[in-house]
Amino acid sequence: MAEKIATLTDDRIAYLEGLVRQGKTAAALFTQFTQEDVDRIVKAMVLAGIGQAQNLARLAIEETRLGVLEDKTIKNMVATEFVYDYVRDKPSVGTIREFPERGLVEVAEPIGLIFSLLPITNPTSTALFKCIMAIKTRNAVLFSPHPKAWRCCQEAIRIMYEAAVKHGAPEGVFTCVESPTLPDNAYLMHHPEIKLIDATGGPGAVRAAYSSGKPALGVGPGNTPVYLEKTAQLDMAIVDIITSKTFDNGTICASEQTVVIDDEIYDVVLDKFADLGAHVCDARETELLGRMVIDPETGFMRPMAIGQKAADIARACGLRVPPETKLLITPIQGVGREHPLSAEKLFPVLSVYRAKSVDEALRVCVDLNHAGGRGHTAVVFSRNDEIIRKFSEAIDAGRIIVNSPGSIGALGGVYNDMVPTFSFGCGTGGGNSTTDNVNLYHYLNIKRVARRTQAHMWFRVPNQIYFNMNAVENLRHFPSRSAIIITNPVLEQMGHVDTVRRSLPPQTPVRVLAIPDAEPEVKVVMQGVEALRLNKVDQIIALGGGSVIDAAKIMKLQYESPEADLEELAAPFLDIRKRVVRYPAGKTDPVRLIAISTTSGTGSEVTPFAVLIDKERGRKVTLADYSLSPDVAIVDPQFVMSMPKGLTADTGIDCLTHALEAGVSIHASPYTDSNAMQAVRLVFRYLPIAYEHPGDEEARSMMHNAACIAALAFSNASVGVNHALAHAFGARFGVAHGRANALMLPHVIAYNASVPTKFMPSPNQRAYVAHKKYAAVADLLGLGGDTVAEKVQKLVAATEQLLDRLEVPRSIRDLGISEEEFARAMPDLSKIAFDDPSWRSNPRMPLVSELIELFWSAYRGRSPAKPAAVVEPVVALEGSLV
């Protein structure tokens, strides 16, 4: 039972409780009804309502003494016929909308018992409208009409109810409070069985509804401004305004209140109003009307005028006008309490204002809008789209009616394609929860059934990759008006630049820019860009390791798009498809970037990544976008034959890490898996040979291919936590990237193969499969083992053996870093590793404590714990290798 209201007797409470019980039972029973059931009932109700439209209008006028019979009849027709036209084909039971391409379905759930207030101004039409909405949506309604419109409302509800029940609706689906009082309303608004309050009424009723703590639909008051701009079709505008403002004697709250008229047309407009039956008041009449129809205490209209004829109002105020006068026009000079007729007037008194300019007109419309009408309705007459746009942006109104009557326009479905309604949402400006024309969807809880969708995946690589010994000769296929070779001084001394130059088409103008052999700095890149500009370059040949190729990628970006802000482009992101920052769009005359790698590790010749050092700010900037990928990659082993042993080992393990991390990444796909697996196979087979026999051409060639193939995989599947750890550790202790990766790798394999503390959200993964993918790698390498766990252990052991063979230190401790120093660094290391975007594609989400544990495992050295429990996947990844 609701909170007991002091002024209600026990009998009255029992009476109200009985109404609630009936409605609650009906609402519950109604949930069993089908779409066919409700559509059948709605049609019967609509026909019954149409048949009684005039009788109900007559009853309303007799009881309320407001409005015009003919207009109220039309309103009753609109509330039935037009509303039916809108709802007839709309699903409202079960599935109401489907979006198969988005995997979304909307399912309707009735609200239950609605408590609904009905107004004095539009009593029967609003009752008819709400009854139809309720049945269409399988809700029950307990009505409380305005006390001075109770009988006509009750009759409208009775007609609807009898038609509904006759055609199968549950008994008690509509009930109506007899002789309702404010305490009745307060009691019901707080009743726990009332699920929604739909308050169409005065500001007090709406405020009470929203104050109840219940979900509520409340409509606010209006004060519709109209801008009559000089380009408007005046004859049409004036007829529309008179039609609207006199409709039902102005009782619709969306009707025009003040017309702001451009100076140039002001006099003509007033003459036309007068010609069509309006009386233009002089200053004395205006002042008199203002005192009589607006309460100076409150600033609101007096009830005596609401819904009355113009001539009757004039007579009551002591003005002498012809009895057939349609409208009283009252010129005003401003807005606010000192200009009483600038307030809302639900009767045929229309204020006018002469505006000297568009700006003044818009300002006055805003003032009117904010003088009691925010969120409601506004009207503009103009043939200038720019004026209409400005007006729409300036005015806070849920309905901005263009070149048509405000009141009938706002009702929807007659002059425009808005939803037909008798309840205008006024948004937060009017203290409401919606700006919509209230309709059947506001009477439903709409449930979204969201099916799992798979994110679109991709496999993006450079257009052309040339590989094997002397692949550089393919440069002859790329003519250029002006080429530049970006390289480093060592490679230039080694004669590699000459080899490249010789391979270019004859007479290609080519220049050489040798940059330091280190991760590129901003300064170096900008010097390179200047060289590109000076030489009007159309082809860049990057000859070098990752640093040189990365520098060339950024030079190309800045050369083609000088406006590109590297700082902004480096902003972190979670999903490349949804990143905040967009890279410059493709150029009409792009520069060709050809990348020739001289190390077998980073794979930068095919990746969409580039790293830049910002020395001034002491930070490293990572850029990632497929527009950075080189256009052509040349993987020619002649450039790596003389790589030193240490570099061979470090870059080779970097390549292995790329392949293994791409293999277990949450972005892995059958396309990346094939590359990842092949790269792993090549590394295990050829890296030891290349390390121990540097002159072995086949081993060098295969390792060079392996680096590129692994890069194809991680360019599309990304890397994982191993790289996050290595980036943090390498930067802090000055350890080469490949070596840092190597120190982490066995520990990370064991870590990823065990049951995650936290799974990584990923719609493309249907089960946790990292351990199975490692096992598949073990199978590929022929390592043996019967179970997944055994195979993972074999892979860890094989990786350790490979590292031993490459003479990679067994632990961070072996690098000469003391335990104390490492412990001191740990807070920074763990923080930086956790901030590193690399792990965002790792199969398990690392906790900071786990990152710390991994760092310490790597510090202590290679004796990783055997993988703990192994997850048995429910469903293997479709199309993956397991």
Partner: protein, 90 residues
């Protein structure tokens, strides 16, 4: 336990009589697609009586639409929904 099917007019009087005699009752709803206000009123009365006699009334074969109505009216909690199969006989 007495089995009573809800497709006969006399289901309520039969069920009430049995409950009055402190006998357990199982109401078979398997043929019921939709219920109306009279069934609700009957179930309320039956629940009142059963509670006063400390007798359990089981509803069987209740489809989800009907169950939802009972749930909304807080009637579901007054009955048991042990299973959809009812042992035959009394």
């Amino acid at each position: 336990m007495t089995r009573i099917t809800i497709d006969r007019n006399a289901w309520l009087s039969e069920a009430l009589a049995k409950v009055e005699a402190s006998g357990e009752v199982a109401l078979d709803f398997s043929a019921v697609r939709r219920i109306d206000a009279s069934v609700i009123a009957g179930l309320e009365k039956l629940a009142d009586t059963a509670e006063s006699k400390s007798v359990q009334v089981g509803l069987h074969g209740v489809n989800v639409d009907v169950y939802k109505v009972l749930k909304l009216l807080k009637l579901a909690q007054r009955f048991s929904f042990a299973g959809d199969k009812i042992a035959s006989g009394t």
